[in-house]
C-alpha cells in the first residue's frame, strides 16, 4: 500500500463536540465536495449511520457498544448536533455522498490490552482520557457515570494538556481550547493548520501505542477504498486532530495494527443521550462544559457572542422573575465587562469564564449563588435526545419506556420528585416498577422513604406507642425522585443477559443476594425487597432462609432487623399483595427472632462506644416493636431493658438509652427514674461514664427528659458537682449529649434548673426574658441566676 496516497485525500482534523470544528468542517466539505466521507467511529457500527441521520433521531444520542459474551464491558460514542462527526454524516446524507466509519471495531475497543481496554479516546482530547476511561466501565457499566466523576475528583491528573494550558496563562485546558480554537472566527484552512499544529505538539509528548495502531488501522481503511477505485480527491477523512496530524506528516506505520488484540464479541445500538452527560463534569469528552451554550452558538452559525448575549438576557429574566433588580443596562454591562475581561486576558472574545465572572460582578452584585444555581445549569441544559423508531430496542427498554409513558413518570435528565399514594392500585403498580428498577440496579429512581399520609406527623408516628398499625400502613405513601440518564438505557440494554423482563432481572439479583446472606437480617432484607418488587418465588425462598438463619444468628442488629422486617410484613397486606404468605408463617418467625434477640441484649451492650453504636439502633427497634406488636413478648423485653438500665457492667450509653426508653413508655415512674439517674450522675461515679449515660438517655427523647423535674435536678447536681479539673475531660461527651437539645428543650432545661435551684419565684421573669432572648438582662437580675446561666452557657 502506498502511504503517499494519503496526502491526496482531503483530511480534516476535528475535536469531538466542537462547534468551531463543525462550522469549519461544513465549509470544507462544501468546498471539496467529496463523494465518500470517512469518519472516525467504529467501522462495525456503520450500519447505524442511517438511523443516526434519520429525521426521527434527535441528538444528543450515542452509539452504545457492549460485550455479549457474559463479560462486563461497554462504551459510548456520543453525538450532539454540533459534533463534527454528526455534521459530516449529515452532510453526506444531504448531498447524496456515502458516509462510513473507519475506526477499529467496537469489539477491539473493548478488548483488554496491557491491563486496560484498548479504548477509543483521542490523544488530542484530554476529556475522553480523563473522564470516561473505559477501565471504569469495565467493572460497573451502568452506574459508571456518577462513579467516574467521584474518582476523578479524588485524583486530579496533572497532565500535558493542563501544562500546555498553564504555560499559555490559562487556568484550565477548556479555557485554553475555547480561547484558542472556539472563539476566533477561523476559515477552514487556517483552522485546519492551527489544529494540526496543536496536535503535533501533543503527539510530540509521546504517543500511546494503541493510538498509533489506530492511525494504522484507519489509514489502511482509507487506502483500501482507494484501491477499490475511488479517486483520492473524492474522499474526505474526518478524524481527531492527532490522527489527522499523523496522516499529514506521513507518520503512519501500517504494520502496527497487528498489535491490536482480537475483538471480543459485541453488539451495538443507538441510545438517547443528554446534555448533562455531555457536560465535562459528568461524562464523556471535553469541550462541553456547557452543551446548551455550545448548541446555541452552533445554531447561530458559530456566533459565540450572540450565544453569550442570549444566555445573559435569559438570566436577567430569570432574576427578574425571582424579584431581583436586574435591568437591561446590567445585562449590557455584564456583556461589556466580559468583553473587557477577555481583552485583558488577550482573548479574541469572551468565553465561559469571562461570562461567569462578569455576571457575578454585575447582575449578581458580587454573589455567585445565582450564577452557580441557575446560569450554569442553563448553560449545560437538560435536553434528552431521541432515537428513531427504526432502531430496535431490547425488551427491557420496551418495558421501561412503556411503563414510564403509561405511568407519566419523569423522562428528562434532571431530578424530579413525586409521591405515590399506595391506597391506589395503579400507584402500587408504579411503586413495584420503581422498586424493581432500584433493586435491578437500573439507574433511574431514588427511594426517598416512606412517610405517613399526614405530612407533619411522619416523624412523630414512630414514637407513638399505641399505634394502629393497620391504619398506618393503609395510609402509607412513598416519596421518590427519578432522573433518566443515558446510564438508564445502557443498563437496560446490558441487563438483557439477566432476563427478558424486569421481574426476571430482579428475581435473579435477589436470588444471588440470598445465596450470599450472612445472617437472618440479610435474608429479611431480601424478603422485604421481594415483597416490594412483587417477586413471589423469591418471597418463599427468603422466608425459608430467614427461618433457617435466625436459628443460629447471634448478632443483635441482624435479629432486630429480622423482627422488624417480618413484623412490617404482618401488617402489609392492605397496600400490596404479599402473595401466598400469611400471618401464620410470619408471626412465629417474628417471635422467634425477637425472643432470640432479647436473650442477647445483655451481651451485645458490653462493647466500647464504637461497638455499641449499632446496638443502640437495635435497642430502639426492639423497643418500638415490643411496645407496638401485640404478638411479641413485651414483658420479656421490659425485663431485659430494665436490667440494662440498672446494671453497671454494660456500656453506660446503653443503660442511658434503655432507661430513657422505659421512662418514655411509662414502664419506669418518676421516682424510679430519678433514683436511677441520680445514681448514675451521683458524686461517686466516674464523670465520663455519667456523661455517656446522659448521652444515651437524651438520645431517646430530649424534650421529655428535660421536662422532668427529678431528672433535671439530678442533672444539675451532677453538673455542679464535677470537679473543675475533671470538667474539661467530660466536656466533649457532654457537649455531644447537649447538642441533642433544640431551643425548646433548652428553655425547659433552663426553667427547670432555675426551679431546682429554688429560685422558682424568679423563673417566670426569667422565662419572659428568655423568650426575648435578652441574656444581658437576665444576667443582671441576680447573681444566682447568672451563676446558673454561666454553668449552662458553657454547654449550650
Amino acid at each position: 500500500m502506498n502511504l503517499d496516497l494519503l496526502r491526496s485525500v482531503h483530511v480534516f482534523p476535528i475535536r469531538h463536540h466542537s462547534p468551531r470544528s463543525s462550522a469549519a468542517l461544513r465549509a470544507f466539505l462544501e468546498h471539496t465536495r467529496p463523494s465518500l466521507v470517512l469518519v472516525e467511529g467504529p467501522h462495525d457500527a456503520t450500519h447505524l449511520l442511517a438511523a443516526l441521520v434519520d429525521p426521527g433521531t434527535k441528538p444528543p444520542v450515542a452509539i452504545l457498544g457492549y460485550r455479549v459474551d457474559g463479560e462486563q464491558g461497554s462504551s459510548l460514542w456520543p453525538f450532539a448536533t454540533y459534533s463534527p462527526e454528526y455534521v459530516a454524516v449529515k452532510w453526506a446524507a444531504e448531498r447524496g455522498a456515502r458516509a462510513e466509519f473507519i475506526d477499529i471495531a467496537i469489539g477491539t475497543a473493548l478488548a483488554p490490552h496491557e491491563g486496560e481496554v484498548v479504548g477509543h479516546e483521542d490523544l488530542d482530547d484530554p476529556g475522553s482520557e480523563e473522564s470516561w476511561a473505559p477501565e471504569h466501565e469495565a467493572d460497573e457499566p451502568a452506574a459508571a457515570v456518577a462513579q467516574v466523576q467521584e474518582e476523578e475528583e479524588e485524583a486530579p491528573r496533572v497532565n500535558v494538556y493542563q501544562a500546555c494550558a498553564e504555560a499559555r496563562g490559562f487556568r484550565s485546558f477548556e479555557e485554553f481550547w475555547e480561547a484558542s480554537f472556539e472563539a476566533p472566527a477561523y476559515d477552514p484552512s487556517s483552522f485546519r493548520e492551527a489544529l494540526i499544529a496543536y496536535a503535533d505538539l501533543v503527539r510530540a509528548e509521546g504517543d500511546r501505542l494503541v493510538h498509533r495502531a489506530r492511525d494504522a488501522f484507519m489509514a489502511r481503511q482509507v487506502l483500501e477504498r482507494i484501491e477499490q477505485g475511488i479517486a483520492p480527491e473524492r474522499i474526505a477523512v474526518v478524524v481527531g486532530a492527532a490522527h489527522a496530524a499523523a496522516f499529514a506528516a506521513g507518520d503512519v506505520d501500517l504494520s502496527l495494527d497487528e498489535c491490536l488484540p482480537a475483538p471480543v464479541p459485541v453488539a451495538a445500538t443507538l441510545i438517547p443521550y443528554s446534555f448533562p452527560r455531555l457536560a465535562e463534569q459528568l461524562g464523556y469528552g471535553a469541550g462541553n462544559r456547557a452543551p446548551r451554550y455550545y448548541q446555541r452558538a452552533h445554531d447561530a452559525g458559530c456566533d459565540f457572542q450572540r450565544a453569550t448575549l442570549e444566555v445573559l438576557v435569559e438570566f436577567t429574566e430569570h432574576l427578574r422573575l425571582r424579584g431581583f433588580m436586574a435591568s437591561l443596562a446590567d445585562t449590557i454591562e455584564a456583556y461589556r465587562l466580559a468583553v473587557r475581561l477577555a481583552d485583558i486576558r488577550g482573548k479574541a472574545g469572551p468565553g465561559l469564564d469571562e461570562v461567569r465572572e462578569a455576571t457575578i460582578a454585575t447582575l449578581c452584585r458580587g454573589d455567585a449563588a445565582h450564577v452557580d444555581g441557575f446560569l450554569w445549569p442553563a448553560m449545560i441544559g437538560k435536553s434528552v435526545g431521541h432515537v428513531a423508531s427504526r432502531i430496535g430496542r431490547t425488551s427491557l427498554q420496551e418495558e421501561f419506556w412503556r411503563e414510564v409513558r403509561a405511568r407519566r413518570l419523569p423522562a428528562s435528565d434532571a431530578p424530579e420528585s413525586f409521591t405515590l399514594q399506595l391506597t391506589n392500585e395503579t400507584e402500587v403498580g408504579t411503586s413495584i416498577f420503581l422498586h424493581r428498577l432500584r433493586i435491578g440496579e437500573v439507574p433511574y429512581p431514588t427511594y426517598l422513604g416512606t412517610q405517613r399520609g399526614l405530612g407533619g406527623r411522619a416523624a412523630r408516628a414512630k414514637q407513638d406507642a399505641a399505634l394502629d398499625t393497620q391504619a398506618f400502613l393503609s395510609q402509607v405513601n412513598e416519596a421518590w425522585e427519578a432522573q433518566w440518564t443515558p446510564a438508564t438505557d445502557v443498563a437496560l440494554v446490558e441487563k438483557i443477559v439477566l432476563g427478558d423482563t424486569l421481574e426476571q432481572v430482579v428475581t435473579r439479583a435477589l436470588g444471588e443476594r440470598l445465596a450470599n446472606a450472612g445472617g437472618a437480617g440479610d435474608a429479611a432484607d431480601v424478603l422485604l425487597d421481594a415483597v416490594l418488587t412483587s417477586c413471589p418465588v423469591t418471597v418463599s425462598a427468603a422466608l425459608r432462609a430467614c427461618d433457617r438463619l435466625a436459628a443460629y444468628d447471634d448478632d443483635l442488629p441482624s435479629l432486630a432487623r429480622t423482627t422488624s422486617n417480618v413484623s412490617y410484613l404482618v401488617s402489609f397486606g392492605s397496600t400490596r399483595s404479599r402473595s401466598s404468605v400469611g400471618d401464620q408463617v410470619l408471626v412465629p418467625l417474628a417471635r422467634k427472632s425477637f425472643d432470640r434477640a432479647v436473650l442477647r441484649v445483655r451481651q451485645a451492650c458490653t462493647g466500647d462506644d464504637e461497638a455499641v453504636a449499632p446496638i443502640k439502633g437495635a435497642l430502639r427497634t426492639l423497643h418500638d416493636l415490643a411496645t407496638s406488636r401485640p404478638y411479641l413478648d413485651q414483658q420479656a423485653w421490659a425485663e431485659a431493658a430494665r436490667d440494662i438500665a440498672e446494671t453497671f457492667t454494660v456500656n453506660p450509653a446503653c443503660s442511658g438509652m434503655c432507661c430513657g426508653l422505659l421512662y418514655l413508655a411509662q414502664k419506669l415512674d418518676e421516682d424510679e427514674v430519678s433514683r436511677i439517674v441520680g445514681l448514675r450522675l451521683g458524686a461517686i461515679g466516674e464523670p465520663l461514664a455519667a456523661a455517656s449515660f446522659l448521652d444515651g438517655f437524651l438520645e431517646v427523647n430530649a424534650l421529655v427528659m428535660v421536662k422532668s423535674r427529678p431528672v433535671v435536678e439530678a442533672l444539675d447536681a451532677f453538673l455542679a458537682g464535677i470537679a473543675p479539673e475533671r470538667f474539661r475531660e467530660t466536656l466533649p461527651v457532654l457537649r455531644r449529649a447537649f447538642s441533642r437539645l433544640g431551643t425548646t428543650e433548652r428553655r425547659y432545661l433552663l426553667e427547670n434548673v432555675l426551679v431546682a435551684r429554688r429560685i422558682a419565684d424568679r423563673a417566670e421573669a426569667a422565662h419572659i426574658v428568655l423568650l426575648e432572648q435578652d441574656r444581658e438582662r437576665l444576667v443582671a437580675m441576680s447573681d444566682e441566676l447568672s451563676a446558673a446561666m454561666d454553668d449552662l452557657d458553657e454547654l449550650l
Binding site: 487556568r171 433588580m325 454591562e333 465587562l337 473587557r340 485583558i344 457575578i360 452584585r365 466536656l731
Partner: protein, 361 residues
C-alpha cells in the same frame, strides 16, 4: 512609627516607574499604566520588569483582580465587598496608586460623614472676608479626583447615612459636582472613578439602595480558606512589616503555621480534619489580625525575650488581640486549647502550656 507607613505610590515608586517605562500597551484615558501592567503590579511578577522586581501585593485569585481592573477601565465604579481584614482597603490602595499615581484621595465612611466631606466645604475665614471664591473653596477628595481625572477611594461606604449614599448616586451618574455658590460645576476629567469598600459584617450592603448598587460592579474578596495560602500571606506580610518598621524578630515557620491553623479552625468552628467541633469566637479572626499577631510576637520577643520568637510570645500577642474584643472570645480560645491544642505534637505542646499559664493565672 506612623511616618514609616508610606503610601503605596511612594513605597513602590521604583516598581511603578519601571512598569510605566516598559509598558507599550494602550492605556485607558487618564491611566498611568495599561490594565495588564496594573495587573502585574498588583499580582507581582516572576521575572523583573526593566530590572526591577515586582513584588506581589494582593496574594490570591488573579481573576478577581482582573475583574476589578476591567471594571475600572469602564465608567462603572468598583465596590469591593467582604469580611473585615481581607485586604479590601489594601487592594483599593494599590489599584489607585498604580492607575492614578495617588492612593490618597480618600473619604472614610462613618455614620457622621457629611455632604461636605463628599463634595466641598469652605474656609470660613476667607469666605467671610472675600465672599465665595475658588480660594475659599475646600474641595473634597472626590472633587479633587474629578478635577484631576484620578481615582477617589470611599472606605466603608455602608456605614454612611442614606442621604450621603443618595448624594453619591448623583455624583456617580452625572459625573459632576455643582457649586451653586460660585455659579459653576466641576465635571469629571477623564480617568476619574471611585473605588468603594464595604464590610459584609456591617450588614449594610443589602440596605444600600438599588439605584446606588446599579452604579457599581461588585467584587467579593474571599476569606482565605486554604491553609498554605494563608500562611504564605501572613508570613510574607509579616516580613514586609518587619522590614518597613525595622523592628521585631523573624518567627519560626512552624509558629506561623500554628497561628494560622488556630485562626482557621476557630473561624470555621471545626478542626481541619473535620473531627472536633470548637466554639466559634464572636469577633473576626481575619488574615489581617493574624499578620498583626505574628508581627507583635516578634516585637515582644525582641524586647522581652531572648531574641527568639517562642510560643510564649505568640500566646501573649494573641491574647492581647483577642482579649481586647471580649471575655467570651478568651473563653473560646481557652476551650480550643483544651480540646484541640492539648492533643497535638511539636510546637503545639509549648503553645498549650504557655496558654495554660496565661489563661489560668
Amino acid at each position: 512609627m506612623t511616618d514609616i507607613r508610606l503610601p503605596a505610590e511612594v513605597k513602590h515608586k521604583a516598581e511603578l516607574e519601571a512598569l510605566a517605562a516598559s509598558d507599550n500597551a494602550p492605556r485607558p484615558p487618564g491611566w498611568r499604566l495599561s490594565p495588564r501592567a496594573v495587573e502585574t503590579y498588583v499580582m507581582g511578577s516572576d521575572t523583573p520588569v526593566g530590572g526591577v522586581l515586582i513584588t506581589p501585593k494582593y496574594i490570591g485569585d488573579r481573576a478577581l483582580v482582573q475583574v476589578a481592573i476591567a471594571t475600572l477601565a469602564s465608567d462603572r465604579a468598583l465596590m469591593l465587598v467582604g469580611e473585615p481584614g481581607t485586604a479590601k482597603s489594601w487592594l483599593s490602595e494599590h489599584l489607585a496608586a498604580a492607575i492614578s499615581g495617588t492612593s490618597g484621595l480618600i473619604v472614610q465612611g462613618t455614620a457622621g460623614t457629611s455632604e461636605e466631606q463628599l463634595k466641598y466645604g469652605w474656609n470660613y475665614a476667607l469666605l467671610l472676608a472675600e465672599g465665595p471664591s475658588q480660594k475659599a473653596l475646600v474641595p473634597s477628595p472626590i472633587l479633587r479626583a474629578m478635577r484631576e481625572g484620578k481615582f477617589a477611594r470611599l472606605e466603608e461606604i455602608t456605614r454612611t447615612s442614606s442621604e450621603i449614599q443618595d448624594a453619591l448616586i448623583s455624583i456617580l451618574s452625572e459625573k459632576q459636582i455643582a457649586i451653586p455658590e460660585l455659579g459653576e460645576g466641576v465635571s469629571a476629567a477623564r480617568g476619574f472613578n471611585i473605588i468603594a469598600t464595604a464590610n459584609t459584617r456591617d450588614r449594610g450592603v443589602n440596605e444600600m439602595s438599588a439605584a446606588l448598587k446599579r452604579r457599581f460592579n461588585f467584587v467579593t474578596i474571599p476569606v482565605v480558606e486554604d491553609l498554605e495560602q494563608e500562611i504564605r500571606i501572613v508570613t510574607r506580610r509579616e516580613a514586609e512589616l518587619r522590614s518597613d518598621y525595622q523592628v521585631g524578630v523573624e518567627p519560626p515557620a512552624e509558629l506561623a503555621k500554628v497561628l494560622v491553623t488556630l485562626f482557621q479552625e476557630l473561624r470555621a468552628g471545626v478542626t481541619k480534619d473535620g473531627k472536633t467541633k470548637v466554639k466559634q469566637p464572636g469577633s473576626v479572626l481575619s488574615t489581617a489580625e493574624a499578620i498583626s499577631v505574628l508581627f507583635n510576637s516578634g516585637i515582644l520577643a525582641q524586647h522581652f525575650g531572648d531574641g527568639q520568637v517562642t510560643p510564649e510570645d505568640l500566646v501573649r500577642s494573641l491574647l492581647g488581640a483577642v482579649a481586647k474584643e471580649s471575655r467570651d472570645d478568651v473563653k473560646a480560645v481557652r476551650e480550643y486549647c483544651e480540646t484541640v491544642a492539648k492533643g497535638r505534637a511539636g510546637l503545639w505542646k509549648e503553645f498549650y502550656s504557655a496558654a495554660k499559664r496565661r489563661l489560668n493565672p
